[in-house]
């Protein structure tokens, strides 16, 4: 498994700590947050590929956080952590753009597999963007220069 940049968001601190330890042992980069707001703040600072987000949290609700993440960090994939199987919040989550969901209590391997998939998608996306830019560069060097001045497309 390649090295993943993950963020775990859950209001249970112990769970965060232990799971982070586990994932770090396996060689991944793990950031943690105990609330939706903290997650958004940390996303500004860290380069995260996949966020594993608990649906039910006090303060900013999981779905709300999901919406925010999709708007502000569209290249970040979100995996929902939900209490029951096929259920409204998971379905809503999918509708709002979550990549997948995992039921609590979650299986680490299952979680990682899904995170891999998510990360893979993002990498594919990034490749596509790079390719697209290359193509446009071949067509118009002027635009290349203009783009280089601004930030990469969000």
């Amino acid at each position: 498994m390649s090295r993943l940049n993950l963020m775990l968001v859950d209001d249970e601190e112990r769970f965060l700590a232990t799971t982070a330890k586990l994932l770090t042992r396996q060689g991944h980069n793990v950031t943690t947050a105990t609330s939706g707001q903290e997650a958004l703040d940390k996303l500004e600072q860290h380069d995260v590929e996949v966020v594993i987000l608990d649906v039910k949290m006090p303060g900013m609700d999981g779905l709300q956080a999901l919406r925010e993440i999709r708007i502000r960090f569209p290249l970040v994939s979100v995996i929902m952590l939900t209490g029951h199987g096929t259920v409204e919040s998971a379905v809503d989550g999918m509708k709002l753009g979550a990549f997948d969901f995992v039921t609590k209590p979650c299986d680490i391997d299952d979680l990682l597999a899904k995170a891999e998939d998510a990360a893979g998608r993002r990498r594919d996306l990034e490749d596509k963007i790079r390719q697209a830019r290359l193509l446009t560069a071949i067509r118009s060097p002027r635009e290349l220069v203009r783009e280089a001045d601004g930030r990469p497309e969000k």
Binding site: E12, T18, T19, L22, G83, P105, C106, I108
Partner: protein
């Protein structure tokens, strides 16, 4: 059997109700009934009475006219004779004899004929008595006839000393005055008067102003006796006077009286009331009988109807109470169901933590092992084993909470294609531990390659679980904790998918088998179960376009078969 609380003794509320209903059920028909009967009888009474009296009046009237005619005609006869033969002619004894004979031929009432001169001397006589030569100048009748020219006497004894009455007329004036007199046969007269008969006791007779019998009264009364009753004598006037009064012998009669013969005689027609109004009395008795029979009929009917009604009410109340109780039980169980979802949620959180801790422990142990840090020993082996076991058990807990949560949701059914190949194992997994605990041998035969069905997965689960649970209960009831067998078969039958759940449990009696799909029907003791399971299953299966049927042999076993159409 559905348990019912023993019916409480008739409560005061029911008694009051019963009394009220009974009262109105008796009154309601009784009042019009009695009214009709009374009014009818009264009117009939009245009408009959009037009719009877009217009849008597008519009889009296007609009879009086007849008698009066008789008297008038006899006088007319005398007048004729007087004019035709004259005084001188009639003085001849042979003439008188002939005349009497002729008269008698056509009016046998004439007993004798007498011719009297102006001084009251009987100068000629034809008849059965030796009266010739007698002087009647002082006789009341003579004086009357001289004064009034015609005269009808009352009955009197006279010279012959036997009751008789005479009719006489006077002809001529002054010294030429003469009188023709005839005696009327009282026997014939009585016969004529008496001729009126109505009923058993109806009779007619004539009395004079002083109440002396002028004719013989059939029921007792000789000529010249004084009638013991004075009815009608004090009532003057034309027409017929009627009354109902007691006679001297105590019986009550209907009387009709009318004056004749110049108001000298009173015709009395009478009949005993019982006799006269017999139709009336009979009708009254019949009415009474009807009243009694009808009345008791009404009362009996009212009592039986009321009892039936009250019994019905009690039964309905009981059933309602029973249903209420079942509703409460159902509500409680539903609450428990709701709470269980909460429990499952609560448990998931710590479970999540435990899992992650276990994963960490396992990872560390594995790493240490790989790094050679863990000596090979029984303890280490046990440790490793234990760690892995924890994971297994966590998985088990997770399955339970997941099962509960899936089940406890009440979302609208989401109909999807359900692949039976993995549906059944999932359901069986939910219940296999219960089977093991109850000592029930559960066999599952699902033919491979079964087509999927269109259903809401949770609802389908609900049906299968319910049937399996029922099967376990039945089997436990029959076999205790050993020997119970439940078999689940799922196979294609024709173009339908048939799922049958067969058990060797206590079975369902023929009496109950028709009711098992009815809501709230349960053979379990009160408090166990809601009685809703099978009715809900029925509803679910129907909504999927399937059918559910049951066959059972008490003490032997039961088979439920659900037949579903495959998803097209």
């Amino acid at each position: 059997m559905v348990e019912r609380k023993p019916r409480p003794p008739a409560s005061p509320a029911y008694e009051t109700l019963r009394r009220r209903i009974l009262a109105s059920m008796i009154l309601a028909p009784s009042v019009p009934f009695a009214l009709v009967l009374l009014v009818g009888t009264y009117n009939f009474n009245l009408a009959t009475r009037e009719a009877t009296v009217a009849r008597m009046v008519r009889i009296a009237d007609d009879h009086r006219n007849a008698i009066q005619s008789f008297l008038d005609e006899r006088l007319a006869d005398l007048g004729f004779v007087a004019h035709v033969w004259t005084f001188d002619g009639l003085r001849q004894p042979e003439t008188l004899t002939d005349v009497l004979q002729d008269l008698q031929r056509y009016a046998p009432a004439f007993v004798d004929l007498g011719v009297f001169d102006a001084d009251g001397v009987l100068v000629a006589y034809e008849g059965p008595y030796a009266l010739t030569g007698k002087v009647y100048s002082d006789a009341d009748w003579f004086r009357q006839v001289i004064e009034h020219r015609t005269f009808v006497s009352d009955v009197f004894l006279g010279y012959r000393n036997s009751p008789h009455f005479v009719i006489a007329l006077a002809e001529g004036d002054g010294a030429d005055r003469w009188v023709l007199r005839a005696t009327i046969d009282t026997h014939l007269f009585t016969e004529m008067v008496e001729r009126v008969r109505s009923g058993r006791t109806g009779e007619a007779y004539v009395v004079n102003r002083n109440g002396v019998f002028q004719t013989v009264r059939r029921s007792g009364g000789e000529l010249l006796d004084v009638a013991p009753e004075r009815i009608g004598l004090d009532t003057p006037g034309r027409g017929v006077a009627t009354s109902v009064a007691r006679a001297a012998d105590g019986s009550t009669f209907v009387w009709a009286t009318t004056w004749l013969n110049d108001d000298n005689w009173l015709l009395v027609v009478r009949q005993e009331v019982g006799d006269a109004f017999w139709a009336l009395h009979r009708a009254t008795y019949v009415g009474l009988v009807i009243l009694v029979i009808g009345g008791s009929g009404i009362v009996l009917l009212a009592v039986s109807l009321t009892n039936g009604l009250v019994r019905r009410l009690q039964r309905v109340d009981d059933e309602k109470q029973h249903l209420n109780q079942q509703l409460i039980v159902a509500g409680r169980l539903a609450e428990i169901g709701e709470m269980s979802a909460g429990f499952a949620h609560e448990i998931n959180n710590p479970l999540q933590i435990i899992r992650s801790e276990q994963a960490l422990i396992e990872a560390i142990v594995d790493d240490l092992g790989r790094q050679g840090q863990l000596p090979e020993s029984e303890d280490v082996a046990d440790l490793t084993d234990s760690v892995r076991q924890i994971r297994t058990q966590i998985d088990r807990c997770a399955a339970v909470t997941q099962g509960i949560l899936k089940f406890a949701r009440h979302t609208d059914p989401v109909v999807r294609e359900v692949a039976l190949a993995d549906f059944f194992p999932e359901v069986v997994a939910m219940i296999s531990s219960k089977a093991a605990v109850s000592g029930v041998k559960l066999t599952v035969n699902v033919t491979p390659d079964l087509p999927p069905v269109n259903a809401d997965r949770a609802q389908l689960q609900q049906v299968v679980l319910n049937l399996l649970n029922n099967a376990f209960d039945a089997v436990e009831q029959q076999h205790g904790s050993e020997g119970g067998e439940v078999v689940l078969d799922a196979a294609l039958s024709g173009d339908r998918i048939e799922v049958s759940i067969r058990d060797n449990g206590s079975g369902i009696s023929a009496a109950d088998i028709g009711k098992i799909f009815t809501p709230f029907f349960s053979t379990k003791p009160v408090g166990k179960g809601t009685g809703l399971g099978l009715s809900i299953c029925f509803g679910i299966v129907e909504s999927m376009g399937g059918t559910i049927r049951v066959s059972s042999n008490p003490q032997v076993g039961t088979t439920f078969t659900v037949s579903l159409p495959p998803a097209t």
